[in-house]
Subunit: 633 residues, 2 copies
């Protein structure tokens, strides 16, 4: 619908809004309004009504808040009682606060005003006169900044800073920003150019300091972030239990060419380095990040957008080491990957970064939350076997309400609350739509109303207000995509993996039609773990087969996919799985010998048709076997 | 050759000689004499001249001995200096001592007499008046038996007992036996029926106490072992970091049906339970062990005889979770598996147990040692990728001289020194040959001189002295095996997976001919990680392809095996790889897309013939890619 009104005024910056002009500029958080009926918009509503409250309950239940009360109430004799939870418990609270900040910006809610007041009081009282604030270090009588390979002090400080930035942007809160600035000022003084040359075992402070610089204009914060990344890679943290790559301290950031070590740490660091590039323009940093990105996304990423294939050290494996069953694919890693891609997108404007954001968001990240928004996966495997032992927290058979190491649930909350900001940007020439979803998206000079059932349907109708260039991302799988334009001129046809570009008059409509035929995908031959298998995708959605959909007596492990047979669709709009797929194949009889002669005639197979559901919806019907990669012969 | 002499008198018991008559009886250690020119005999010589001295050097270098000196020299103020190494460092020394004990029995060497005297002095001085002896607990001021889930106190005590038994059997040493008895007596008093109902997080004491009972006849040791296994499975050790299955405390031993948790602990426990069965005859224990064995060897064992597929907790995975690249397959696990199988063989007389002993010995265990006998793998993967990061001790690219956790090298030394005893048994009716190797093997009433180049050649010529029933194991892969007998009567023809049985007159000859044609093997369809691949075996030997054998520019990852093409042999007798295989196939061009459309026409492949070498000989020519399972299409 087209009106002559000026675009609405918008004002709330979302995550990672560069001060220095980048190739693309984010649009404000409240300038992106995914339709609540869309997949993304629905998740955002669920996050607001269920996930954030669940996180608040759990940071209370697990004593993450109590640790602050304890410090705040400390008298002359120091705090009473004992610190509770893991040493990085503060960050669970901070990520929850960040979610509240973005949610205030997104929806304008004041639901948590009392909590924010209480927490600001607590943090102010708990904060040391010099600005130091960490309930584990202060609460256990440790010396600040003496054991940074393990204590996560700067990691927690970074999450405090990010929370303060989000609360300031989203709700105008000044108190948390002041608390965070005192922490950052301490870091500048103590660990700055004239201070101790320390880094943290877990990157996170880098991106946080850049964000605080963006929010305050205080250049010493940017300089502190630069120092943090320049100091990395000189093995100053030692080898620890898992080697210096675990700490991301194995090679200077400009020399590292392989994504390696703890995957979340690798990806947070990469986001921070890219943030520094966005502000200081050091092209050697961007070149290094492009190389590293090719390694991570070209040789070590799961088809779901998961990262990290090893449980032992939560780490990337060797290139092409991508087992579906023991995929670690930590939820936080996919969130970090999305955040890194966002920064690379701003820096370069290249569609591939947006495509990987979409892959992660609609698959690995979406899978980490159940349909109630209150149970979560930490690890996101692509296969669960019949007979799986789900007793380990890192490989449960179903989503858990919370974790001893609870980094993921509040990380998901802060991501979803801010996710609208990742959908579109406003470049020098107009508006760019990166994550296709129904809703309205407003840039500097023009606004787009998007009507679509994507990712379930391929028709995307964009109605433009204001004149300018509209860019709509065409996914790389969308061979045969077409565009119909009224009131505009096509500058670039819809080529898969690039942007459809249209010079729009005010009121123009652009209809992009993406082919949504289900398709089979294979992995590189070197991904040994899924040899002889195909994955089924439809649009950006990865599908899986789940035991709950199979007849009695047939195991997921017995399915063999007929790759030549047509795939049909079953539609149940509004359902958790609005589009299910029906596949054809056979049932492989189970063998009895672990090892036997090669080439024996296979036992006769029975034909079967079976259902595949979106991977992100798995494990919502009780525990059971599942697989994304289906054997084809 | 046939003589009328009586069989030589023999006397030195080897490992695990039941007091209660079992289905089969071990022959003495010095009644089994593998030919030094045979594969096994050669390893035993290498062990004597290189590995045991290397272990002795390293328990000195790493302070495992120094920890005892420190305790022995302690005055009124307690020990000076600090304990060094991991909390289970004592066991490295004890396993080295056990190796020396068996080696004395095997070869009669007195090479380490001075060391034994020094160590007996040290241990006597370090041992507390009540019998307690553990340099970690005593040397760090801890209280004995208060933290058994982690301290390995009974584990170390078990290895001391096993060392003492070996030194007593092999060299007649009484001092270590007395030290060990004081430890065992303390365990009986403190942890016995009227004592504290404790168990150790790492099983090992069970089998040790049974062995000490066998050596001394002291029934309280057997009773203590029974108590240890009855106390398991009631979760008294808590969950720890990895769950109660890690401690083997998740289910009572009679109820557990799945091999699970830390694989070495699982297998040592199973050996101990079987030992208790062998002495007390409780059939419910044997039934439980048969069930557990089917789980371990039928659903969770690598084709090399490796056990344990997870690095995180050194554990068994789910059934059929057997990744070749991230195989943990700890050397100690295969040694423990062999020891368990030996006990099951004695209990039942079934060939399958001997077959799995052979598989482990000639493949996973043999691979753990280099050709110099002084470098070792702790983990024994079946695949190493191009570009592998070998910086982690648990997944190095080459064998290492020693490990921070050095359980494996001295375990290998004690196994090889005693390995002769595992080759044959003496049942009520005669002599049974289980591990086919050249040498002489003497039972109660008859002796066998075996001439063979096995496992490289399939001809096994046995010449018997004394009359009785000779049983020769026919491997399950030996379809078409034939036997020719002179001076005897065939009681059972050579059926694969069973025993050729011949009623022999004195001087009889039995020629068993095994088909040694290279063969291709496939894994159960549920072993997803090697789908579409074949392994190449010849006789009991698993083969692999190694980068060192490929032409410049061709990667191991590019090889595709033509399963219809003939396999030829290249013989270089006396070499590290006396029989190499030449395989035919093609070179798969490398792709450029991690994920792409399924079913695209494959790029044209170039034919290639390539070499496979015995898996156990890999990584003797520098680091490089390797794989056992070769893609077939």
């Amino acid at each position: 619908m087209h009106t002559q009104d000026a675009p609405p005024r918008t004002r709330i910056p979302g995550p990672a809004v560069p001060r220095r002009p980048a190739r693309l500029a984010p649009i404000p958080l409240d300038a992106a309004k995914p339709d609540p009926a869309s997949l993304l918009g629905g998740w955002q509503e669920l996050n607001a009504t269920a996930t954030i409250p669940h996180c608040v309950d759990n940071v209370e239940r697990t004593s993450a808040i109590e640790n602050f009360r304890r410090l705040a109430a400390a008298g002359e004799d120091g705090p009473q009682g004992t610190f509770k939870g893991p040493w990085f418990a503060d960050s669970d609270l901070y990520k929850t606060l960040e979610a509240i900040g973005w949610e205030a910006g997104r929806s304008g809610t004041g639901r948590w005003a009392d909590l924010l007041t209480e927490l600001a009081d607590l943090l102010e009282r708990a904060q040391a006169p010099d600005g130091y604030l960490n309930t584990y270090v202060q609460g256990t009588g440790r010396e600040p900044f003496t054991d940074l390979e393990w204590t996560h002090e700067l990691y927690c400080a970074g999450h405090l800073i990010q929370a303060a930035v989000a609360l300031h942007r989203g709700g105008g809160d000044e108190r948390f920003l002041a608390i965070a600035r005192r922490v950052a000022d301490l870091i500048v003084r103590e660990l700055g150019e004239d201070g101790r040359p320390l880094i943290d075992g877990h990157p996170e402070i880098e991106t946080a300091l850049v964000e605080l610089y963006r929010e305050t204009g205080e250049e010493s914060y940017l300089r502190a972030a630069e120092l943090q990344i320049e100091r990395r890679g000189h093995r100053s943290l030692g080898a620890g239990r898992f080697g210096s790559q675990y700490f991301q301290d194995h090679l200077p950031v400009r020399e590292a060419t392989e994504a390696i070590g703890h995957s979340v740490r690798q990806l947070y660091l990469a986001a921070g380095v890219t943030d520094v590039y966005l502000e200081n323009g050091d092209e050697t940093l961007l070149e290094a990040m492009e190389r590293l990105w090719d390694s991570a996304f070209g040789t070590k990423m799961y088809i779901t957008g998961g990262h990290g294939s090893r449980h032992r050290d939560e780490a990337y494996g060797d290139p092409y080491e991508l087992p579906p069953d023991r995929a670690y694919a930590e939820t936080c890693a996919s969130i970090a990957a999305l955040q890194w891609c966002w920064r690379m997108l701003l820096a370069t404007g290249k569609a591939r970064y947006a495509e990987e954001m979409e892959r992660a968001l609609l698959n690995a990240i979406a899978a980490s939350m159940d349909h109630t928004g209150t149970a979560f996966f930490y690890s996101n495997p692509l296969q669960l076997r019949t007979g799986h032992d789900g007793s380990h927290e890192d490989a449960p058979s179903e989503r858990l309400p919370w974790y001893n190491c609870a980094c993921c649930p509040p990380n998901l909350a802060r991501l979803l609350a801010s996710a609208g900001a990742y959908t579109a940007t406003s470049g020098p020439d107009g508006l760019q739509l990166h994550l296709l979803t129904a809703g309205t998206f407003t840039g500097r000079n023009m606004s787009a109303a998007v009507e679509t059932g994507y990712p379930w349907d391929g028709d995307v109708l964009v109605t433009v207000s204001g004149a300018g260039e509209l860019a709509v991302r065409v996914p790389s799988w969308a061979e045969g995509a077409t565009a119909t334009v009224t009131g505009g001129r096509v500058l670039a046809e819809p080529v898969p993996g690039d942007y459809l570009r249209v010079a729009c008059d005010d009121g123009a409509t652009v209809r992009l039609t993406l082919p949504m035929t289900p398709r089979l995908v294979r992995a590189d031959e070197r991904v040994d773990a899924v040899r002889g298998c195909a994955a089924v995708l439809r649009g950006p959605i990865v599908y899986c087969v789940e035991q709950a959909d199979l007849p009695e007596g047939v195991l997921v492990e017995q399915l063999r996919l007929d790759t030549a047979a047509p795939i049909t669709e079953e539609r149940t709009p509004g359902d958790l799985t609005p589009v299910r797929l029906r596949l054809s194949g056979t049932i492989q009889p189970l063998g009895t010998e672990l090892y036997g002669p090669y080439g024996q005639a296979p036992a006769a197979r029975t034909p079967i048709t079976f259902t595949a559901i979106p991977y992100h919806a798995w494990a919502n019907r009780g525990p059971g076997a599942m697989r994304v990669w289906i054997p084809t012969a």
